[in-house]
């Protein structure tokens, strides 16, 4: 599904290397987690994969379903099935959440030469999905993320994911800022989407989310590289001991 090889990324504006050779292969239907100290490059990796401006790939490659995505526009990557749940979802005053989602869903369908969803079908679908995430009608009408609480923003990200049904879902600290109940809701939302043809890359600092969304593989990222890869037990080790041992082991 996702194949990242020797990915090197620096900032466009300054001479600062952030990713220093990331290798990661994620098969269809699998859930991988990435953990790692603050500032190790996890969000940068997710942004580079999603196609945000401001980064320069100096070496390496990233393929989605065998296709090189690094040359694609962000919207092309989305249409190809990539989705990033942002660590910090963006507020967009003046653009209604509903309008935004309908535009996005239909733009992707169009890009894939599928028929657009009728207004009625769209409404039915979004109501159903919103309900399971406990997002009320009022939140759907409001401008995108404006005045949403931290937790509401994260749930809104999962709602978008549920509506867009991407193949490759990257979740960047979707658990941060969520209360215990909301975390369960989000995890249920994610688990409901788990499918043979769909993969997840879950960036998190805490084992707790991984209790709900069981990863197949856990990666530890430090200083722009994956320094260790293991099973779910690796997350427990981090939870109990922090990163010191792992960093020392590699050094």
């Amino acid at each position: 599904m996702l194949e990242i090889k020797n990915l090197h990324v620096k900032l466009e504006e300054e001479d600062k290397q952030i990713l220093k050779g990331v290798d990661l292969t994620l098969e269809a239907g699998k859930v991988h987690a990435i953990m790692g100290p603050n500032g190790s490059g996890k969000s940068t990796l997710s942004y580079v994969l999603a196609g945000r401006d401001g980064y320069e790939v100096t070496d390496g490659s990233a393929k989605l379903g065998g296709e090189d995505i690094l040359e694609m526009d962000p919207e092309e990557r989305a249409a190809a099935g990539l989705f990033l749940a942002f660590q910090y979802p963006v507020e967009i005053p003046g653009v209604g959440n509903m309008t935004f989602l309908r535009t996005a869903v239909n733009a992707q369908r169009k890009a894939r030469s599928e028929d657009e969803l009728s207004a009625a079908d769209f409404l039915k679908l979004i109501r159903e999905k919103a309900k399971s995430l406990k997002i009320d009608a009022d939140m759907l009408k409001r401008p995108v993320n404006v005045g949403f609480s931290g937790g509401e923003k994260k749930r809104n990200e999962i709602l978008q994911m549920a509506m867009l049904e991407p193949k490759m879902c990257i979740l960047d600290e979707t658990d941060s800022g969520l209360d215990v109940d909301a975390m369960k809701l989000v995890a249920e939302g994610v688990n409901a989407l788990r499918d043979e043809g769909r993969s997840f890359l879950v960036i998190t600092h805490y084992q707790r989310l991984l209790d709900h969304i069981k990863p197949d593989v856990v990666h530890i990222m430090a200083d722009g590289k994956i320094i260790k890869t293991g099973g779910p037990e690796l997350a427990l080790e981090v939870e109990n001991n922090g990163y010191a041992d792992i960093l020392a082991e590699v050094a």
């Binding site: 999603a50 196609g51 945000r52 401006d53 526009d73 962000p74 919207e75 990557r77 989305a78 249409a79 989705f83 990033l84 942002f86 979802p89 963006v90 507020e91 967009i92 005053p93 003046g94 653009v95 309008t99 935004f100 989602l101 535009t103 996005a104 869903v105 733009a107 992707q108 890009a111 401008p143 995108v144 978008q160 867009l164």
Partner: protein, 428 residues
């Protein structure tokens, strides 16, 4: 003091190319007066402070530059689904066949050009008077020129709630048309009227509207100045508001090489409300100037100005907005915001917001901003699969929304919004 040479030459050159309508009309005296005022003031030149940001030359030249007509057949008719009384002008010439009969309940409507002999005293007492009031403290010579030379216009007298809007449709068909229209609208106490205006009007258009709103009356105005690229226009709206009366005006402008829209409002009676809003979208040679002067002359009045402009490819937007609070106009609530969204670095927004306050118990605020598209928002939308141009359109509409929300009638607002969406798609 004698006029500066440049001003005098400009004025005389323009006047020598103009012709007053035939005499024998009750407006003759007002026209003669206006003409002498034009000579006294002189037409604007680019040295005038009030025209610092907008070069008036092509508006004052004997002949304006030609303007090719623009095919807008790809658009459905604006306000097409709204039940309205249509009055059609082609290059400033009344089109009787295309217009509806000039009659409706509580409203008398006449053409200026035809009303000369008729006994409509209200218009005789009004024609040019609000324009004169609006000449101080700032001179507006192009409005006086309009009063002197207007070839036609619509005179509307409203005594109750008008059953439907009066819709003026201005077609442009000749490359060299130079139209001058002057409308007078008088709302008696408690009357209500909506006036719609749309269309490019002429290669060069000078329009003046005088609106007298009596106590408790309400006037609504929605206008769309179309996509016609080469047209030029200077418009003045002079309004006097009685106690408890309401004035709400919204203008949508897309393209047009030069537009100067002046709005002059005098809140004369207590508890009156005046809202003026504008959304403009310009590309390339587009130069759009909103000049607003609101005078608070009474107690507890509210005025509100909301202007938004989206500019790209070197387009220029201008906003000159003033709130003047006269001594004794206590409890004034004045608000003004002007904002521009610059889609590239070549475009420019020039704003001159002004407050002048001579009363102590007032709340006035104003703000002006200029900014680029929010890159984070753009990326967020694109990351969800929305193509870049469509994402940009969404953000442009979001930016303009605050001005469009000023339109009270939902059907009209929806019409304006869909027009705007259509323009956004077509200009790609």
């Amino acid at each position: 003091m004698a006029l500066a040479k440049l001003k005098q030459d400009t004025t005389e050159t323009r006047l020598s190319a103009m012709q007053m309508p035939e005499g024998g009309h009750w407006s003759d005296a007002a026209r003669a007066d206006a003409l002498s005022r034009v000579r006294m003031m002189g037409l604007p030149t680019r040295r005038d402070e009030y025209w610092k940001y907008t070069n008036p030359t092509t508006l004052t030249d004997a002949n304006g530059p030609p303007a090719a007509t623009f095919d807008m057949s790809d658009e459905s008719q604006l306000f097409g689904d709204i039940d309205r009384l249509k009055i059609v002008f082609v290059d400033g010439v009344y089109d009787a066949d295309a217009s509806d009969p000039l009659a409706m309940e509580h409203v008398t409507i006449a053409r200026l050009a035809e009303a000369g002999e008729k006994d409509i005293h209200w218009a005789k007492d009004m024609y040019g008077t609000l324009e004169i009031d609006g000449q101080s403290p700032v001179e507006r010579p192009l409005a006086a020129l309009n009063t002197a030379f207007a070839s036609d216009g619509i005179l509307i007298h409203v005594t109750g709630k008008a059953p439907k809007p009066v819709s003026m449709i201005y077609h442009h068909s000749s490359d060299t048309s130079d139209a001058i229209l002057h409308h007078c609208i008088k709302l008696e106490s408690g009357a209500e009227l909506t006036v719609l205006e749309n269309g490019p009007a002429a290669a060069r258009f000078n329009k003046c509207m005088e609106i007298d709103v009596a106590d408790g009356a309400a006037f609504h105005h929605v206008r769309a100045q179309g996509r016609d690229h080469e047209r030029r226009a200077v418009t003045h709206m002079f309004t006097r508001l009685g106690a408890n009366s309401t004035y709400k005006s919204f203008t949508l402008t897309a393209n047009g090489v030069l537009t100067r829209n002046e709005t002059i409002i005098d809140l004369r009676g207590d508890d009156a409300i005046a809202h003026v809003a504008g959304a403009a979208m310009g590309d390339g040679d587009f130069h759009h100037d909103d000049t607003v002067f609101i005078t608070h002359d009474a107690v507890n009045c509210e005025s509100r100005q909301v202007f938004k402009k989206v500019l790209r490819n070197g387009a220029v937007g201008v906003f000159q907005g003033k709130i003047l609070v006269q001594p004794g106009a206590q409890k004034t609530d004045g608000y003004q915001i002007s904002q521009s969204l610059l889609l590239d670095e070549d475009s420019q927004f020039l704003a001159k917001p002004e407050l002048e306050i001579y009363a102590d118990d007032v709340a006035c605020s104003h703000g002006s901003t200029s900014g680029a598209i929010d890159e984070d928002a753009l990326f967020y939308l694109r990351s969800r699969g929305v193509p870049e141009h469509q994402a940009q359109d969404l953000l442009v509409l979001a930016f303009l929304a605050e001005a469009i929300e000023e339109i009270e009638d939902e059907d009209i607002a929806a019409d304006i919004l869909s027009r705007l969406e259509g323009w956004l798609v077509r200009r790609r």
